[in-house]
């Protein structure tokens, strides 16, 4: 028990110091920090325009009205920013570090290596800077009172969303690992972009075979479509929650196993 507490304390401490260190790094290039806002803002505006155009022709899409579609867009953007600013930043950093042999310096630190490389950068400033304006805009467009939200469903939806983020991070982590064998994996890793591009289609719009594929094999739907469907009461929450737990667990275990195998194959570039 004492050992478990000490392990948890160490991991929380890594989160804390890495957050501080990331913040120091984020503020190092202050002038460059605001350049990304415009592109993310324009992306959101284009998505909103698409929804406007779509719903000027039809009343519902896969059972979703315009307000519910904005809600889906809101959650999918939340998932996107979480992945982009945390998961992807750390993945790309790891690819570069393996390529250049800089991982050496991390592997000689007395910390759990997988935890450390997963949470090396926690860019709170970037999240606040890039995500907040767009999420606020979307939140402002949503008529929250007209969404059929029930507390129990929302709680389950939030948990599924978190599990989805964990599963997706682990899935993408597996895609970067070929760098340990081939010395490069950016192109393989870029599959994460393509596979995540289905984030604005509601769960109900997928055929069963694609629902299965994009939840169990490539776990993208847990980050927005399934939590939204659960929150809106369109699908039963508990089976989806159980599935999310199972999928996240499997991917986390796979991540741990393949990390160990990858480290055995680490050649540490000179």
């Amino acid at each position: 028990m004492k050992e478990l507490v000490s392990k948890i304390k160490m991991r929380l401490n890594i989160l804390r110091v890495n957050t501080v260190n990331t913040f120091q790094g984020e503020t190092a290039y202050f002038g460059n920090n605001w350049g990304n806002i415009l592109s993310t803002f324009l992306y959101t505006v284009v998505q909103i325009l698409f929804v406007q155009v779509l719903y000027s022709q039809i009343n519902t899409f896969a059972g979703y009205d315009k307000n519910q579609m904005y809600f889906l867009l809101f959650v999918s953007q939340l998932g996107f920013y979480t992945n982009w600013t945390w998961g992807e930043v750390n993945h790309r950093l790891l690819i570069e570090d393996v390529r250049r042999g800089i991982l050496d310096f991390l592997l000689v630190l007395p910390v759990p290596s997988l935890w450390y490389v997963t949470f090396r950068k926690i860019p709170l400033l970037t999240i606040a800077r890039d995500a907040l304006p767009n999420l606020v805009l979307l939140a402002w467009l949503i008529n929250w009172a007209h969404l059929p939200l029930v507390v129990g469903n929302v709680v389950l939806a939030v948990l599924i969303f978190i599990l989805g983020i964990i599963a997706w991070e682990s899935f993408c982590f597996l895609l970067l690992l070929p760098v340990f064998w081939h010395g490069e994996s950016k192109q393989i890793y870029s599959l994460c972009y393509v596979l995540r591009d289905n984030e604005n289609v509601p769960w109900e719009g997928y055929r069963p075979v694609f629902q299965f594929t994009f939840s169990v094999i490539v776990p993208t739907l847990f980050m927005a479509m399934i939590p939204v469907s659960v929150a809106l009461g369109k699908v039963d929450g508990w089976p989806m929650f159980s599935l999310a737990v199972a999928v996240a667990t499997v991917f986390v275990i796979l991540k741990k196993i393949f990390w160990k195998i990858a480290l055995k194959n680490y050649t540490s570039a000179s």
């Binding site: 260190n21 790094g25 190092a28 042999g101 310096f105 630190l109 055995k264 680490y266 000179s270």
Partner: protein, 320 residues
């Protein structure tokens, strides 16, 4: 002194892709096995300072990486401080430090002090004593004034000194140094060598060093292991290595006008001839005859006699 590193029949092979044909290589890649370390055994006692020498590709860095747990050995046994390095036991990692001359461990965008804060937390160091240690080490290295400057704005010499402080901030028992003075100017090299000797004496740190610069070895290490093509070819004290090759001396003659033609003299070997002087390598017992022969034939301004440089000794070992 207690034995803290034990290496038995260490071997490490790498699978290297080599495609002679670019097209067929896309679906049928060719691989060959390269043995970076073939079969190396040695042990190190606590407090020793050991240099691992060898030409490029000899297996020096691979040996260091196996000792620090960065790479998994293909064969053999490695034990460091009673641990298997690749297990990466936190207790083991807490006791080692690593500096690599050709890689940057400090965060490029942060100041050294900001990076040291991260290390302080990771190694669970008490803030006040850590700050005192950083200041003491920075003072020794003359880099106290750049502790709060972003690393990207520092010179290579300053950066390496700070990298070294980062590598020993937690008072490791063993410090691994892979070419610590590579690319540095002579002043920075001297400073780092002096610093390493100082911390070894002060904190009884065991030093394992690889370098192509013989001055690093002579100034920092007591013992040397020479490896070539993945095998150990010499293991002994630096002093002993020089003594073993002491049957020959280098003799340099300074002339007012350097003779253009020098006859074949005894069994002496002419090494160099220039306006600066002429250097012979001669067996120690034949040295008086050489000096007598030269001084009789030409007006000599001055004579220097010195042992065969370590660099030449090592080179002769590589050739064996």
């Amino acid at each position: 002194m207690k034995n803290i590193i034990s290496v038995k029949n260490l071997g490490k092979d790498f699978k290297i892709r080599q495609n002679k044909n670019v097209i067929t290589g896309l679906w049928r890649p060719d691989f060959r096995i390269v043995s970076a370390v073939a079969d190396i055994s040695f042990s190190v006692n606590g407090g020793e300072s050991l240099a691992i020498l060898g030409p490029n590709g000899a297996g020096k860095t691979t040996t260091i990486k196996a000792l620090t747990g960065l790479i998994y050995p293909t064969r053999g046994e490695v034990s460091v401080l009673g641990f298997l390095p690749f297990d990466r036991n936190p207790e083991f990692l807490q006791q080692i430090g690593l500096l690599m001359g050709n890689k940057a461990g400090l965060n490029w965008d942060l100041t050294a002090n900001q990076s040291f804060y991260l290390l302080r937390e990771i190694y669970h160091l008490e803030p006040a004593s850590c700050e005192a240690r950083v200041n003491e080490l920075a003072e020794l290295m003359s880099v106290k004034h750049v502790l709060d400057v972003p690393v990207r704005k520092l010179s290579l010499g300053e950066r390496m000194k700070l990298e070294l402080i980062g590598a020993i901030i937690h008072s490791p028992r063993i410090l691994f140094l892979d070419e610590p003075t590579i690319g540095l100017d002579i002043v920075a090299k001297k400073k780092i060598r002096h610093f390493l000797r100082e911390i070894q004496a002060r904190y009884k740190v065991t030093i394992i060093l690889t370098s192509h610069d013989m001055a690093d070895v002579e100034k920092v290490c007591d013992r040397v292991i020479v490896i070539n093509k993945g095998n150990k070819i010499y293991d002994g004290l630096v002093e002993q290595l020089v003594d073993d090759h002491n049957e020959e001396k280098m003799v340099k003659f300074y002339f007012e006008t350097t003779p253009t033609i020098l006859p074949e003299i005894l069994q002496a070997e002419l090494i160099t001839t220039s306006d600066d002087g002429v250097v012979f390598k001669v067996k120690t017992n034949q040295m008086p005859q050489l000096i007598s022969q030269i001084t009789t034939a030409w007006p000599v301004l001055d004579i220097d006699i010195y042992a065969t440089p370590l660099e030449d000794i090592i080179e002769s070992l590589f050739r064996k």
